[in-house]
Subunit: 306 residues, 2 copies
Amino acid sequence: MNFTVTILGSGAALPTLSRMPSSQYINCNNRHFLIDCAEGTQVQLRKYKVHFQKISHIFISHLHGDHYFGLVGLLSSMSLLGREKEIHLFGPPELEEILTTQLHHGGSRLSFNINFHSLRFDVKEKIHEDDVLEIFSFPLKHKIPTCGFLINEKPKLLKIDAKKLKDKSIEVEHYKMFQNGLDVKLENGTIYRYQDFTFPPHPPMSYAYCSDTKKDLKIPEFIENCTVLYHEATFLKKDKSIANSTMHSTTIDAAEIASLASAKSLYVGHISSRYKSDEDFINELKEVFGNSYVTHDGLIIDLFKQ
Amino acid sequence: MNFTVTILGSGAALPTLSRMPSSQYINCNNRHFLIDCAEGTQVQLRKYKVHFQKISHIFISHLHGDHYFGLVGLLSSMSLLGREKEIHLFGPPELEEILTTQLHHGGSRLSFNINFHSLRFDVKEKIHEDDVLEIFSFPLKHKIPTCGFLINEKPKLLKIDAKKLKDKSIEVEHYKMFQNGLDVKLENGTIYRYQDFTFPPHPPMSYAYCSDTKKDLKIPEFIENCTVLYHEATFLKKDKSIANSTMHSTTIDAAEIASLASAKSLYVGHISSRYKSDEDFINELKEVFGNSYVTHDGLIIDLFKQ
């Protein structure tokens, strides 16, 4: 079991040598996802040793360049390296036209299929599901249509306590009943209670991604009780007026949303290049929400360690 | 007087941690140009301390992504930083549609005007001129329409030898006549020969950029006697068959073109990521053309030092 988020870019619109713009790689129980894909993402993936051909789903939150200008380059490189496996791409509907135009004029055809899924920007919507997780998009409030994303683990099976099974006449096929919380009744009438042979699983975890957005009180409903909330905090509170005019958030906005959502931890990013140190960010966040962190490029957030 | 080329990306299509894809910054007598603009160019410009708002003209050789995917990001950053000065953009005609589509869907408008100039791919053509230089495009042979570029300094004025002017009754306005190779005749009949008060200027220099292309024997005519030839050498000679099928050049191809063009120096780039060392490249180039070099990211080529 694993659930990690690798921050590939922690900066806002202007890339700098210390902070690249938004992109994150998520490994959830060996499912491999990319959220946003700013210019330079493919090199960040190499730098942080992510095998990018494993990525099966890419989610683009909105069409500001600092969230997707690296997409066509990453897809081209996947193709040059001979990828055959289809990729699922979620984004605003116009993204498909942008990619098609670029690839067409470059005279190139990708070596794999893109399965494109248009996002909605008016409701929370389940956009992907498999046997261990569900992914939702939900609306944020920014200058152009923008989505947040929520990755929820599904409730897990009970865990078998192998020591207690010893010397019991229990067949392997009964294990699944125990894992699902069912008792086993043998032909001779013996009843084995599932509680005696299992222990509880790790509770399901969830990761919420909110970038870019002004403070929006609907967000806590969409992501309630998430394990980790990544929320943009482009500005310090003294720059609230710039945050308002650009429809971004401050430290205080992000921390209040984390608090209202009862998140376990808050990680902020999309930090404006005007600030040279994290210290003021940390101090302001902790005024409102204790378990707060400022991300940096290359940071790996382990959801099991929150 | 200065004429330098800064290599921002020396690699081929796949960016790696050691070689980014094609882009070059040229400072020719304090005119500031960019040739090609692969993904990551804006960060490379920061890394190598080029003040990118100074760039007035951008030249895109063709529409393969490793030569232009960084353009929209660079233009967006110039705009975010408040640029007002118009930029001249030269490229294949479809480039304008690609940029317009991306900027439109991002809901953004640049803070400055782009003056777009369509390139031709059938003839050598003068595409820019000012009082100290001329720039030409010329056709290369690649999978899609592709241009090379040639930057020629204009013949320079003779240089005034200030020491020799001392104690002579020569007015400042006569200097210009000397600089243009004209004698000065005073009212009293004295004739001053321009040769006695000037020394010859540095001969005009020229820089030729040829990437991407198969070996094309028309190139030497287009760039004859250039000071520095930058030519792609994606492959070593053992991989000639891949060079043929992808319409790229080998070391030997590049060196032969340099030799036929009577270039003073050859610098190769667009090196495939499959090769881990420069040594074989250097050895193969020097078999054919002695004054050969392999570029690396961050290399500054000074045309005065060739």
